[in-house]
């Protein structure tokens, strides 16, 4: 944007634990800014197309939110190595996302203008969050925050030349983008009109479909209305989004309320880690969970209380119910990662992506993993895609599900084993297992009395004394059993079918 690039080179030391951004991403209310920014991003034609075609956020919104958060926190890590590693990983991931949208226009997740817009919309939404909460940022604070966001972009891009150099130049750029750059995209409509109406339950409430459905019916429309009302006027007009009477007041009220809440409540309650840990108990000790011990204790206790007070789920909840599941359910819960009713390459790529980020793979291992999944996809397509439309429908899958346990899938299992076996001793130790599945080893009961039900072991349950490890053949057998839909598994479910 500016001719003199060196003068505006962002200072990477702005990032890190002392930064404003670091503070925001540990505050729960920043989540509202992130959601709003996501709508603005989705209205960008390139990003919107990539989201619709590749993203898993409709079918697995929670996983996506938690992963994104972890990613941002790693980029803000004090250690430059952690930061650069995460940036490389994100770039590799985005590099794989490209294609052609429904109008025949090509898109790429590496497009520098689109990536600048992602950062721009996050910055604007953060400023807006503060303004609406009744605490407008002063000039220097805004300037500092903007510099941090530019630094953030340059961690990914290598430079921040696609964003204006100063926050004063930013606002004309932003207004211009709203008027000329954005469109009423399908992705934006999905977020505004569908996502909150069919949001799957977070892991904590998965066993309570009725409770979740009831809360969603009440909260969904309100959230969507709030989101619409908080968008810039110009975009609302351009996208033809009507305005419900009172929605502006609602939006203001929500912002003010959260602002007040974060000032009045104990800090531990409004921290992102606390909330993530509550919603998804398996992540409570994951990355980003490094709280002071006292905070941890409070958090653990609040979580314990909440779990004890949550009404008991019906006996056959997702992971404790019958081990076998129908091909239909397996299709919806595991295979169809993008939730569009079809399995195609983006679905399998999403699985590979999830595994790669869980294990924090380096470039080579990630490449092998993606290759294995790609080979599996080619095999699936040739075996199951009866009408040759480049994707496998639910019916096509149900008609030939048994052929899933194919050589290419065995190859996937092999690569998975190799990448999970970090010390290369040909067995998966308890730690390696936990890194992959975020859950302890399955416990094998001595008696075969309903053994399958006890295979589902959440984190925190005991590991059999000492000798616990997985051989290659057992690992592959279980993976094939799971992928053939013959058997549910707490581990693979946490990895692939979590919402």
């Amino acid at each position: 944007m500016t001719a003199d690039a060196t003068a505006t080179d962002p200072d990477l030391s702005l990032l890190g634990p002392g930064s404003m951004l670091h503070g925001y991403c540990h505050e729960v209310r920043w989540g509202m800014a992130v959601v709003r920014a996501t709508v603005l991003e989705a209205a960008h034609p390139q990003i919107g197309a990539a989201l619709v075609e590749n993203s898993t956020f409709v079918a697995h919104p929670w996983r996506r939110v938690f992963n994104t958060l972890g990613s941002v926190q790693r980029i803000l890590d004090a250690d430059p190595e952690v930061r650069d590693r995460e940036a490389d990983r994100l770039n590799r991931m985005h590099h794989r996302i490209s294609g052609t949208d429904e109008h025949g226009r090509s898109y790429s997740a590496m497009d520098p203008d689109a990536r600048a817009w992602v950062v721009a919309s996050l910055f604007e939404s953060t400023v807006e969050l503060n303004r609406m909460s009744g605490l407008s940022m002063n000039g220097p604070a805004m300037e500092r925050l903007y510099a941090e966001f530019r630094a953030f972009l340059s961690v990914l891009e290598g430079d921040a030349d696609h964003l204006p150099a100063t926050s004063a130049e930013f606002w004309p750029y932003f207004d211009d983008m709203i008027v000329r750059g954005l469109e009423n995209t399908e992705a934006m409509r999905i977020i505004l009109f569908e996502l909150f109406g069919r949001m799957p339950a977070p892991p904590l409430l998965r066993g309570h479909p009725a409770f979740w459905a009831a809360s969603r019916v009440m909260a969904g429309p309100v959230i969507a209305e709030f989101l619409k009302a908080s968008l810039p006027d110009a975009l609302r007009r351009r996208a033809g989004l009507g305005e419900t009477p009172g929605s502006q007041i609602l939006a203001r009220g929500v912002y003010l309320g959260t602002g007040v809440a974060s000032r009045l409540l104990p800090p531990a309650w409004t921290r992102t880690d606390t909330v993530v840990g509550l919603l998804d108990p398996t992540r409570a000790d994951g990355p980003g969970g490094q709280l002071l011990t006292t905070l941890r204790r409070q958090q653990a206790r609040a979580a314990a209380l909440l779990r004890l007070l949550t009404p008991l789920a019906s006996e056959r909840s997702a992971s404790e119910g019958s081990a076998a599941r129908s091909a239909e359910r397996f299709f919806a819960e595991v295979l169809d990662q993008t939730g569009d009713g079809y399995v195609s390459w983006p679905d399998l790529a999403a699985m590979a992506r999830e595994v790669a980020s869980r294990l924090d793979l380096d470039a080579d291992a990630e490449e092998r993993l993606f290759d294995a999944f790609a080979a599996w996809w080619r095999e699936l397509a040739s075996a199951l895609d009866a009408d040759r439309d480049g994707r496998v429908s639910r019916e096509e899958y149900a008609g030939a599900a048994s052929s899933l346990a194919s050589p290419a899938l065995v190859a996937v299992a092999e690569v998975l084993f190799d990448t999970a076996d970090t010390d290369g001793d040909q067995t998966i130790s308890a730690e390696e297992y936990k890194a992959l599945f975020r859950t302890a080893f399955p416990r094998t009961p001595p008696a075969p009395r309903d053994g399958a039900a006890h295979d589902a072991t959440p984190a925190g349950a005991g590991v059999r004394n000492g000798d616990a490890s997985y051989s290659r053949s057992r690992f592959i057998r279980e993976f094939l059993d799971f992928m053939a839909g013959r058997r549910a598994s707490a581990g693979y479910d946490s990895l692939l079918s979590q919402p």
Binding site: A304, L305, R307, L309, T444, G462
Partner: protein
Amino acid sequence: MSAPLHVACVMDGNGRWAEQRHLPRTAGHRAAESAVIDVIEASRTAGVRWLSLYAFSTENWRRPDDEIDFLMGLVRRTLRKHALSMCARGIRCRFLGVSDPRIPVGLARDMADLMELTRDNSGMTLTIAFDHGGRRDIVEAARALIRERVPADEVDERSFAAHLPCPDTPDVDLVIRTSGEQRISNFMLWQVAYAEWVFPEMLWPDFRAEHFLECLRAYRKRERRFGDVRSPTPMVKGSR
């Protein structure tokens, strides 16, 4: 007269209680809940600092599968129902044992949650022996000592006790075993070494606060006699 520091109950007789009423055994377990709650409240108000309840032994796994499944569900529901009131009364809850993989994961999680929730409470400590075996605890302690390579000379009663599970538990002063059965049944073997035992004939589902207080009175009487050197009374029979 002060109350015993540590009281333990072997909650026996649920099955017989149900059989007497021509009900399924599970009905007896269900009826046991109110006795448990009554005893917890009674011991708290009587000033007992440590209360231990024998809920499920390592040998109980031999029972029919149906009964075990029912018991696990019942314990889970009861635990959740009373979790908040335990916390509010300042009771610290702990589970002793709980290592068998057959324990349903949901129950194990709830137990861990209840312990976490009440761990800093300073009122009475309630220890629930679940999937507990006294010998196993002793074996565990021996293992821990060997693993730490403690030299044989340094192992004494005190250091051994420190390696038992829940090592801060004091010796049991009084054990109440209902239903008239007079056995130890592998219960907290190390901790009951010097305990007084009373064996009320009553079945556990009928056991109430007043019976509990009666047992405490019996314990006190015995202690008084114990100190009387002129007429040492042999302690053979229970309180009734």
